[in-house]
């Protein structure tokens, strides 16, 4: 009995330790997490980085790294191995969690870290064959010795960093989630690239297009999806002559009608993916040398998707932004050339309806015979839950997904499952890193063209400029040679005429070098005018950004970096300029009250710029969306997915025939005119705005209504930045809008001394406890650019050192 108080106290103490070392829901284990030495406090950065002179195991020779005033690393190595080893080491040091998350996501392993809520996403990643594609890529990389060397060197660098970590040094997110890093492998690099392909080249509307065709008929499809907008100015100028015969393909006599009506969720392509790039020839610049500019638009997150770095080694000196988990510079420049990318919306993903012999799915019908499938067992490990086993069946097209089959072949009640196989460019063996490896070392146009031959997906418009004076643009990637409209709808998986029958030969790819007009540009619009002999796709960005850029570049002469910067931040809305005057003419002003009239007046005087301090863009956007919905709502009231017309196509239709058949709301007795719809939607839009932003005041400023937040990758509260008062818009060159937009802005002035400027919304460090986590956001928001320090020789400790600059530079000297 006398030991009872002691036992009670001991039990209480042990219970306390147990409670504090356990994760409760999303609450991290509080003992280790709050530990002032090893917990989250350890990530609070207390000292600026300092010089370092140390050994780093794994290097082959000595390496110097210089961190500039924005902590961008400049690596000076004496061989390729050390160069990419250091890139891996530094990226891991700054962004390890992001690197791991991206690859866990690609591999369908998020539920391992985050639990059952991510199982569906993981299952989709597996069914889309992400790992299958990545494994093929690794096999391809191994065939090219230099590529394989840098893959291994980069991985070794990442692992050198990971193995140097004690648990107290794990990045903050690891402590929050109570997880540990795992070793890095070349497969993860391939997975990262597949993830980019999924982000940029997985958009498809095969199912909804099939439905639209069945529901509205071919005339509707022609009217809204086939025709280009009159103002479309394609990437390759319409004047370009195609002096070749296309490689023929055999097409079926009639188009297959798939069984689907309701169906697989199309991959949700987040709005805001699109980009601008351009290069202006020396004839149009003040310096007499080309200037190149690029701003890829992506979802904005913290840490940023990009990592700025300079890589200097034998035969290479390149600067730009790199992806976390991939060696080399993706968008940037070297001492002779500069390049940048925007996405190409070519159709490189098709669904095929599959006919299996029976439920065992061991054989499927194709080309008049039963062919064998193969199976891949996917084990989805789930944190604190049971492992899920999923068998994915593969045909020669690709992996098969089961389509939910509630409403299939017209027979109520009899629901036979429907199977769709995925044919996707991401499953083709490829080695994109080799393209970047060579671009980083390119000296002229020919080197650039040769480098691009190794690049397959996601297809990009590669803009190029050289100090020799060349400018060029290649619509670059690997494109299936399709018959007109092939893969736009769900294809017949039994008929070989629907298979991809080959590839568009490289020399037939849309491209242009030194065009007469003195510039090249792209803004995700249609690659070519309709006379281009091959079919690529019909889903491109509206004409607006592309046309605006081309108009500005045509008008301007003696261009400087400042002109480019102004164009990058150009907020002009072609969309508003096109449709707003009509909307204002339709509205019935006598049905408006005083405040509504006042708001209307502000639209009358608006100059169509999406500037943060204007209220008109807020009103216009809300009005347009409401009107758009009012016009389409009844026709699109179906319980299966349908394709909606692109913004610019509907605008053109309304301008041509403002009372066309969709304007009337069919369920009402009266026939609504565009005047009724415009007035009603205007009033309704103002009511919506008032509900959210209060009475008509500065709170309606576009800067707030644009709703620009930059969240952390995991959407964790406190780790993002909210309510950035910003200018821009989806249809403006400055395509900033809620949480997406220009993820990197870069201007490069070619010439004997290359000069470059850039900014991205984030910072070098991925540590939320570092002042460098988000320090560039303010400059990015206001359109400022940093001059990029592009060193030709080490900035300290060499005769080339430039005095003042070197003060803020931190130097690491590393030896093997």
């Amino acid at each position: 009995m006398k030991y009872l108080p002691f036992s009670l106290s001991l039990t209480a103490g042990l219970a306390l330790i147990w409670v504090l070392s356990t994760r409760w829901g999303n609450i991290p284990p509080m003992g280790p997490f709050m530990d002032p030495d090893g917990g989250f406090w350890a990530q609070a950065e207390r000292q600026p980085p300092s010089h370092l002179n140390d050994q780093l195991l794994g290097l082959m020779d000595s390496v110097q790294v210089f961190f500039d005033d924005r902590r961008v690393p400049h690596v000076f190595a004496q061989n390729d191995h050390d160069l990419y080893f250091m890139q891996g080491f530094l990226q891991a040091r700054d962004r390890l969690f992001q690197m791991e998350m991206q690859t866990y996501d690609a591999a369908g392993r998020l539920s391992e870290l985050l639990g059952p809520s991510l199982v569906e996403r993981d299952r989709q990643s597996r069914r889309w064959g992400m790992v299958f594609g990545a494994e093929k890529a690794v096999a391809e990389v191994q065939k090219h010795e230099p590529s394989w060397t840098i893959f291994k060197a980069y991985s070794a660098g990442v692992n050198a960093f990971i193995s140097s970590l004690e648990p107290e040094q794990f990045p903050l997110e690891y402590k929050l989630l109570d997880i540990s890093p795992e070793p890095w492998t070349p497969l993860k690099m391939a997975l990262l690239l597949k993830n980019m392909t999924r982000t940029l080249a997985a958009g498809n509307s095969d199912v909804s297009h099939s439905n639209t065709l069945a529901y509205f008929g071919p005339e509707f499809v022609e009217q809204f999806f086939d025709k280009d907008h009159d103002l479309l100015d394609p990437i390759i100028p319409a004047s370009r002559v195609w002096d070749f015969e296309r490689v023929p393909v055999r097409r079926p006599d009639t188009l297959f009608v798939p069984k689907v009506a309701k169906s697989i969720q199309p991959f949700p392509v987040p709005e805001g993916i699109g980009s601008n790039n351009w290069a202006v020839s020396g004839e149009k610049t003040a310096s007499g040398y080309p200037i190149l500019s690029n701003d890829p638009h992506l979802r904005l997150t913290l840490p940023s998707i990009w990592y700025e770095i300079q890589l200097h080694g034998p035969g290479v000196n390149t600067y730009g932004v790199s992806l976390l988990g991939a060696p080399g510079v993706v968008i940037g420049f070297n001492e002779q050339v500069a390049w940048g990318v925007t996405n190409v919306a070519s159709d490189v993903l098709d669904w095929y309806e599959i006919r299996f012999e029976n439920q065992k799915k061991e054989r499927y019908w194709h080309d008049g015979q039963w062919k064998a499938t193969s199976k891949r067992i996917e084990e989805i490990h789930v944190r604190s839950a049971e492992t899920i086993i999923d068998t994915v069946v593969y045909t020669h097209h690709g992996p098969v997904s089961e389509v939910s089959s509630a409403n299939t072949d017209g027979q109520e009640g009899s629901t036979r499952p429907i199977y769709h196989a995925l044919r996707w460019i991401a499953h083709e063996p490829s080695n994109e890193i080799r393209a970047f490896y060579q671009l980083n070392r390119a000296e002229n146009y020919d080197d650039y063209v040769e480098a691009l031959t190794h690049y397959q997906a996601p297809a990009q418009n590669f803009v190029f400029a050289s100090s020799e004076g060349d400018i060029a643009l290649w619509v670059n990637g690997r494109f299936p040679n399709k018959w007109d409209g092939q893969g736009r709808t769900v294809s017949d998986g039994t008929d070989p005429l629907y298979d991809w029958q080959g590839w568009i030969p490289r020399e037939h790819h849309p491209h242009i070098k030194n065009p007469e007009r003195g510039f090249v540009s792209s803004a995700n619009q249609e690659s070519t005018a309709p006379d281009y002999p091959y079919y690529m796709d019909d889903v491109y960005a509206p004409f607006e950004r592309g046309r605006r850029i081309n108009e500005r570049l045509s008008e301007l002469d003696n261009m400087t970096k400042d002109d480019m910067q102004a164009l990058l931040m150009d907020n002009y809305s072609y969309h508003a300029a096109e449709i707003l005057p009509s909307m204002l003419s339709w509205i019935q002003t006598d049905s408006l009250n005083t405040i509504q009239s006042e708001v209307l007046d502000s639209l009358q005087t608006w100059n169509y710029y999406n500037n943060a301090s204007y209220r008109a863009p807020s009103v216009f956007r809300s009005w347009w969306y409401t009107l758009y919905e009012a016009i389409l709502v009844d026709e699109y009231d179906a319980d299966f997915p349908l394709r909606t017309p692109a913004r610019d196509r509907l605008v053109q239709q309304l301008k041509e025939d403002s009372n066309f058949w969709m304007v009337d709301h069919r369920s009402t007795e009266v026939v609504e005119t565009i005047g009724d719809q415009a007035t009603r939607s205007f009033i309704s839009a103002l009511n919506d705005l008032t509900e959210v932003y209060g009475v008509w005041s500065d709170d309606w400023d576009w800067g707030w209504v644009i709703n620009n937040d930059i969240p952390h990758l995991t959407q964790t509260n406190g780790l993002g930045v909210n309510d950035l008062y910003s200018s821009g818009g989806a249809e403006s060159v400055n395509a900033t809008r809620g949480s997406s937009g220009p993820s990197w802005r870069m201007i490069v002035e070619l010439g004997p001394e290359i000069k470059a400027w850039g900014v991205y919304p984030g910072g070098t460090s991925g540590n939320p406890g570092s002042p460098n986590y988000d320090h560039m956001i303010e400059s990015w928001r206001t359109g400022k650019l940093y001059e990029l320090h592009f060193y030709k020789a080490p900035p300290i400790g060499s005769t080339m050192s430039s005095g003042q600059e070197s003060k803020s530079v931190v130097k690491w000297s590393l030896r093997p």
Partner: protein, 114 residues
């Protein structure tokens, strides 16, 4: 008494630099056995010694890092003030040490009753 208090606080601070978080309990276990005080006082001494050590440590980190991370963490946990994080840190350390000190002083008591 004050010496024991400072020994617990000081040792807890230094042990934590080399050992994981639960090391906050060790000085209390060691010195609590040598403490001839009432259970409440034993708990209080252990508690406040590490409350002070961990609290001061966290406060130092907060100030030296300009509160960059603590403000984010406060938002994450839905706290309005960053000092509450420091308080939570201090209380966790304090509780660990309080129970440790109490436990070992009770053990000493029980043995002395023989």
């Amino acid at each position: 008494m004050i010496i024991l208090f400072l020994l617990i606080a000081g040792n807890a601070f230094f042990l934590n630099l080399v050992l994981p978080w639960w090391s906050a309990a060790l000085p209390g276990l060691f010195f609590g056995y040598r403490m001839n005080v009432t259970p409440i006082r034993a708990f209080g001494m252990g508690f406040f010694a590490v409350f002070l050590a961990w609290g001061a440590h966290a406060a130092y980190v907060h100030i030296a890092s300009n509160g960059v991370l603590s403000s984010r963490m406060a938002e994450l946990f839905g706290l309005t003030q960053e000092w509450i994080l420091i308080l939570i840190t201090a209380v966790i350390g304090g509780l660990l040490s309080g129970f440790a000190t109490l436990t070992s002083s009770l053990l000493a008591h029980s043995r002395n009753k023989k």
